[in-house]
């Protein structure tokens, strides 16, 4: 272990990426950057070590266990509405893994995996969904804003954060994560335009998961791809296989390096699929065929990495069992912490609107 995977696996670049990875979008022709095929074979050399690959895989496993736990807790009445991310683990873990600890993140209610990998503790993500504002109080040093519940309003915050860091003279970047639906909001336009005009170190990370609740992406926009929108703002746009954790990691890494060296913002479209419902109060059978989700099962972001690792001699059933056991243990411990937070008091509710608390009567 520890050797570069490129020394282990080298496969000729495939002739058409689309033959590996189906399109969710009308544009059958547009290509997207991809390295790991659904069957675990590799399109090109992978510039990550086996250890790094195993670590990314372990993070995705932990994220999926969290997602399942959260869904179960919601069914048990222990969480308020929950928005599952199953199927999008590679996009979220890959993007967060490309960031530095002190970078900023503004993301959505579906981005628990991304937020967690960027430093947001599981117990606070759970506490927020339990219905407690203290879930938004991330530890000092973690620069991840509480998940945005409005669609799209948080994108421009990553412009201001990066702009502020630029004026402070740091090289921190700000990554904002959003879905395909958010690109129709006026906020998207204002954020993209401001970022490009001031060349802020902002990464616009769009997880195109095919649907905005029930509305398919093909109807959301007439642009050929979401990445194509970047051209109008004068910034690079990248389209990447969002179910390929290494492809996402590399493209976000490229964007952060460019941003840190003064090269300005980048739009990255990670093409992925929401395996589950929009939220726990939604029934996807009303707007999509079950066979569609089935077809994405084989493109599962975890499965392909497991197959790859297996071929590279970096995966065993025993290791998988250990991973799952350890992740479950950490998540169960986080649940215990979140559920043992005392009931909030009226005083606490009244004193967090302003620095000095409510106005005296």
């Amino acid at each position: 272990l520890g050797r570069g995977l490129d020394t282990l696996i080298t496969i000729e670049p495939s002739s058409t990426l689309e033959s590996i990875f189906g399109q969710t979008h009308a544009d059958e022709g547009s290509s997207m950057f991809s390295l790991i095929k659904p069957d675990g074979s590799v399109v090109d050399r992978l510039p990550v070590t086996l250890d790094e690959m195993r670590s990314l895989y372990a993070d995705m496993v932990e994220a999926r266990i969290f997602d399942r736990k959260a869904m179960a807790m919601q069914r048990q009445g222990r969480l308020a509405t929950y928005a599952p991310f199953q199927g999008q683990e590679a996009a979220q873990i890959g993007a967060a893994a490309a960031l530095r600890d002190d970078d900023w993140v503004t993301a959505t209610y579906r981005d628990a995996a991304l937020n967690w990998r960027a430093g947001y503790p599981w117990e606070l993500l759970i506490l927020g969904r339990v219905g407690d504002e203290r879930g938004g109080q991330v530890p000092e040093g973690v620069n991840v804003l509480p998940p945005s519940i409005t669609v799209g309003g948080h994108m421009v915050h990553a412009v201001g954060l990066a702009w502020g860091e630029m004026l402070k003279g740091t090289d921190r970047v700000a990554l904002t994560s959003f879905g395909d639906g958010a690109t129709s909001e006026g906020d998207f336009h204002e954020a993209m335009n401001f970022a490009a005009v001031y060349q802020t170190a902002t990464i616009f990370f769009c997880q195109n998961n095919g649907y905005a609740i029930s509305y398919p992406v093909a109807e959301q926009t007439r642009s050929e791809t979401i990445a194509a929108k970047a051209a109008a703002y004068g910034m690079p746009g990248e389209r990447v296989d969002g179910n390929d954790v290494v492809a996402v990691l590399l493209k976000v890494q490229e964007a952060t390096e460019r941003a840190r060296s003064g090269g300005g913002p980048t739009l990255i479209e990670a093409v992925t699929y929401r395996m589950g419902p929009h939220t726990t109060s939604d029934d996807p059978d009303r707007y999509r065929e079950g066979s569609e989700a089935d077809s994405w099962e084989e493109r599962d972001p975890l499965r392909r990495v497991r197959l790859l690792l297996e071929k590279a001699g970096g995966w065993t059933e025993q290791w998988q069992a250990e991973l799952e056991e350890e992740a479950s243990r950490r998540i169960e411990a986080a649940v215990v912490v979140a559920e043992s937070v005392p009931e909030p008091t009226l005083e606490e509710m009244l004193t967090r609107m302003h620095a000095a608390g409510p106005e005296p009567e």
Partner: protein, 325 residues
Amino acid sequence: MTERTLAQALNDGLDVALRSDERVVLLGEDIGRTGGVFRITDGLRDKHGADRVYDTPVAEAGIVGAAFGMAVAGLRPVAEMQFMGFSYPAYDQIINHVARIRNRSNHRFTAPMVIRMPYGGGIGAAEHHSESTEAIYAHIPGLRVVVPSTPRDAKGLLLAAIEDPDPVVFLEPIRLYRSVKEEIPDIYYRVDIGPARVERPGDDVTLISWGAMMKETRQAAVALEEEGLSVEVLDLRTLIPLDRDAIALSVSKTGRAVVIHEAPLTAGFGAEVAATIQEHCLYDLRAPVQRVAGWDTVFPLKRSEHHYLPSVERIREAAMKTLED
């Protein structure tokens, strides 16, 4: 000390803030090269640099949202909305994010920022340029709402707003920008956000107003005094937090109150003031509280402005009404 108009006092306040605190950044439409449509930021870009005073694209939500990010990152942005009516596209950012981040993160993240808005009518402007919808901002928990009516208060409250750990909506009365003038200190000074100011002490009736309508309120007080009345004038200066003690103290003494504002009557901020008076002073009241306000209409265009704006005469009549019986 230098004699300054309210507009010059604000310019001086921003100048002093930029000089004394490197975290202060100004952003808005046309505020750099031309110094803003009202010239409030005149000369500041040349003096402090284009990386302190930013001309921005025409996008109010973008301006406020970017300023929000800067504030969370540790700067002290001062965003200008060209007119209050242009703040509505940014209302989502203001309500959903600026006002809430402290609550959402239980104090972990805050947005210490100022959103300046020229407000009010009386200058014959086009539609949307004469708004005085302070009540819609006052209704949003998490915001401070400040409305100065004198040059001294304008500079001092602006510097206090920039220092404030929470977001402040700072309303600037367009009609008073150049029509009031006074000697004010050249140094850095603050006027605390919160306390109202008794501008003129009196015993018979209290006139309560803020911002642009202070001009007519002052004139009405002079007219009433000429008729032999002793009039107290209270300038609220800040709507949120509301100085309920100052209102109660004054009206308990005079037993009569007239609340004056330019905004439409219904659900205007005067209703909050009147409610405060009945809660605190009911047994001292000698007459029903009077409200003098704009009509429940859209602010009209130039030829009808005189129909809309509360006049000195309407204020005088309302005060006389509290003295009937």
